[in-house]
C-alpha cells in the first residue's frame, strides 16, 4: 500500500510537496484516504447536515418566505398534535404501506418463481414482467388515471363485461386506495428480478437432498426456498417500506390528494404545506416527523424481522 517508494530529500520541491514528504507513511495514507472520500464528506455537510440544521432552526419559527422568520416556540409542534389533516395523511400513508408492501412482496416472489421455470421463451416473459417497473412515473400516473377512468377506462370495461358494477375508482374514497395498491403492485419488476437472482443462487443440490428425503413441492418451498431466500425477502421488505412512504407523483397527478383527502400521502402533504401554503416552519416539522417515522420503522423492521433472517454465510 506504499504510495511513494523513494522518499526525496525534504528540501526539494514546492512547499506543499515538502510538507507531504515530511509525513509518515501512516499519515500519508490517512491523508490520501480523506482526499478520496472528501467529495462525500463535503456533500454530507452541504446537502445533509446543513439543511438538517436549517430545518431544526425553522421548527421553532413561522416563515412564509417573504417576511423574516418569526420565533413561535413550540407552536409548530402543538399544531402538529391537533392537526386533523396530518392525522388523515398519516392514516392514508400507513394503510397504504401496510397493504401494498406485503402484497407487492408476495406477488414479486410469486412472479419470480414463475419466471424461474425452464422454458424456451422464458426470456420474453421476464422482459414483459419487468417492463412496467421502468415506465417513467409521470407517464405511469397518466396511464393509470386513464385505465381507472370510470366511464371509459379499460378496468371498468372488463369488470362490466363480466357483469360487475361500474366502480368510481378515483372518485370513491373507499376504492381509491385499492386503485393505488393495484398500480403499485403492477410495478414490482425490480424486486421480482432481485428475487429471481436469489432463486438462481440457491444450490440445486439442496432441492435434490430434500427430494430424496421425500419432501414434496410445497415442503421444498417451505423448508429450502424460503429460509435460503430470507435475506433477500428482508431486503425487499425494507426497500418496499421506504418506498411506500414516498408516494408522491401518482398522488399528485392522478387524484391530487383526493377524493376527500383519501390519497393525501405524507410526502404530498409536506410538499403542499411548504410550496402551496408557504408554511415553511410547519413543513420543516413535518419533514422531521417523516424522518422519525422512517428511523422508527427501520429500527422495528431490523429488530423484529431482521433477527429471524437466516444467513448462509454470515458476515459475507
Amino acid at each position: 500500500m506504499t504510495t511513494h517508494l523513494a522518499n526525496p530529500s525534504p528540501t526539494e520541491g514546492f512547499w506543499l510537496t515538502r510538507q507531504y514528504n515530511r509525513l509518515t507513511l501512516r499519515q500519508r495514507r490517512t491523508l490520501m484516504g480523506y482526499v478520496f472520500i472528501a467529495p462525500f464528506i463535503l456533500g454530507f455537510l452541504f446537502w445533509w447536515l446543513g439543511p438538517a440544521a436549517v430545518a431544526g432552526y425553522l421548527t421553532f419559527h413561522k416563515w412564509n418566505f417573504l417576511a423574516a422568520p418569526k420565533f413561535v416556540g413550540m407552536a409548530n409542534f402543538s399544531k402538529m398534535l391537533g392537526d386533523p389533516i396530518l392525522a388523515q395523511s398519516l392514516k392514508v400513508t400507513i394503510v397504504f404501506s401496510v397493504i401494498s408492501v406485503p402484497l407487492g412482496l408476495v406477488f414479486a416472489f410469486f412472479l419470480a418463481n414463475l419466471i424461474n421455470a425452464k422454458f424456451r421463451f422464458i426470456a420474453i416473459f421476464r422482459t414483459i414482467y419487468f417492463l412496467p417497473s421502468i415506465v417513467p412515473a409521470v407517464a405511469n400516473a397518466i396511464l393509470w388515471a386513464w385505465l381507472f377512468n370510470t366511464e371509459f377506462g379499460l378496468i371498468n370495461y372488463v369488470i362490466r363485461a363480466f357483469g360487475g358494477p361500474k366502480i368510481g375508482w378515483l372518485q370513491d374514497p373507499n376504492w381509491v386506495m385499492l386503485a393505488f395498491v393495484i398500480l403499485t403492485v403492477w410495478g414490482v419488476g425490480g424486486s421480482m428480478i432481485i428475487f429471481l437472482a436469489g432463486l438462481q443462487g440457491i444450490p440445486q443440490i439442496f432441492y435434490e437432498a430434500a427430494e430424496i428425503d421425500g419432501a414434496g413441492r410445497w415442503q421444498r418451498l417451505l423448508y429450502v426456498t424460503l429460509p435460503m431466500m430470507s435475506p433477500i425477502i428482508f431486503f425487499n421488505l425494507v426497500i418496499g417500506f421506504i418506498n411506500s412512504f414516498q408516494v408522491f407523483v401518482s398522488a399528485l397527478l392522478i387524484t391530487n390528494g383526493g377524493p376527500q383527502r383519501a390519497t393525501l400521502f405524507l410526502v404530498l402533504h409536506i410538499w403542499r404545506t411548504a410550496f402551496s401554503s408557504q408554511k415553511m416552519g410547519y413543513a420543516a416539522v413535518l419533514s422531521w416527523l417523516l424522518f422519525a417515522i422512517l428511523m422508527l420503522l427501520s429500527f422495528l423492521v431490523f429488530r423484529y424481522i431482521g433477527s429471524r433472517v437466516y444467513y448462509e454465510n454470515p458476515g459475507d
Binding site: 511513494h4 456533500g43 452541504f46 439543511p51 430545518a55 415506465v135 397518466i142 393509470w144 418506498n243 399528485l252
Partner: protein
Amino acid sequence: MGFNEKPAEYVESRRRPKSYGDIFFHWLTVFLLVFFAVVMITPFIWLLSSSLKTQINIFQYPPQLIPDPIVPENYVYALTYKPFGIYFRNTVLVAGLNVIAVVFTSSFCAYGFARMRFPGRDFWFGIVMATLFLPYAVLLVPSFIVFSRLGWVDTFLPLVVPPFFGGGAFNIFLMRQFFRTIPEEIADAARIDGCSEFGVYWRIMLPLSKPALITIGIFTFLFAWNDLIGPITYLRSPDNFTIAAGLASFRSQTDISWDLQLAASTAVTLPVILLFFLAQRYFIQGVVMTGLKG
C-alpha cells in the same frame, strides 16, 4: 446475469420419469405465465391504442381495442402543443451532467472506501449507509431553503450540483462493492511501477469497472429523466422544465384531452424502453447488485 442466459444449475440433473403431478404443474406454470403476461402487458397496449384514437373514439363505450381510424397526428399535436424540444434539451443537459458527476465522483469516493485503510473510514461509510436508507423527500423542504438562500431557485443548479459531491450513497455503495471484486495485486503491480494512488484509481480501477460504471450511469440517467419532485420544486419558468415537469404541466392544462396526454406519455416512455432493450444486461445487473451484494 442477463435475461437470455440459461440458468446454469438447471442442466438436466435428474432423469426421473415425469409423474402426473409434474405434468399438471408444468401446464399450470405455463397457464399462469401467459395469464400474468397478458395482465402486465395490457396497460401498454391500452396506452398505445388510446394514444392513436380520435378525440371522439376515445370517449366511446365499449372501447375500441384497435383504433379506427388510427391517428398518428396525435403525437405531433401533443409534442408541439408544449415546447417538448426545449424540455428534451433541458432533460438531456441535467441528466448528462448528473451522469458525469455520478460516474466520476461516486467511483472516486468508493475507491477510498474500498481500497484505502485509514482511521475514520468505517465511521464515514456508516454515514453513507445511513443516508442510503433516507429518501430525499425528507430533505426536500430544508434543502429548498438552502438553495433559495443561494439564489439557485429556477436554475438547474439544485438538480445538477449536489451529485458532484459524492454522487449519492447508493452509487458509492454499488461502486465500492464492485471495486472489492477486483484483485488488489493488479493495483500493487502498478504501484511498484511508480503509479500514484490517483493513477491506480484512474488508470487501473476505472477501466476495469466499465460494466458497473455503465450501470450506475444508466440508472442516473433514468432517474433524471423520470424525476418530477425535484424539477417542480426548483424550476419555475416553463422554459426550464424537464420532460417530466413538462408532461405534468401538460396534463394539468389539457385535462380532458386524453388522446394527447397519452400520446405524450407514450413518447416519454418509448426512449426508456428503447434504452432497456439496448442495455438490458446493465439494467438487470444493476437491480441485482443492489439486492444481493449487501
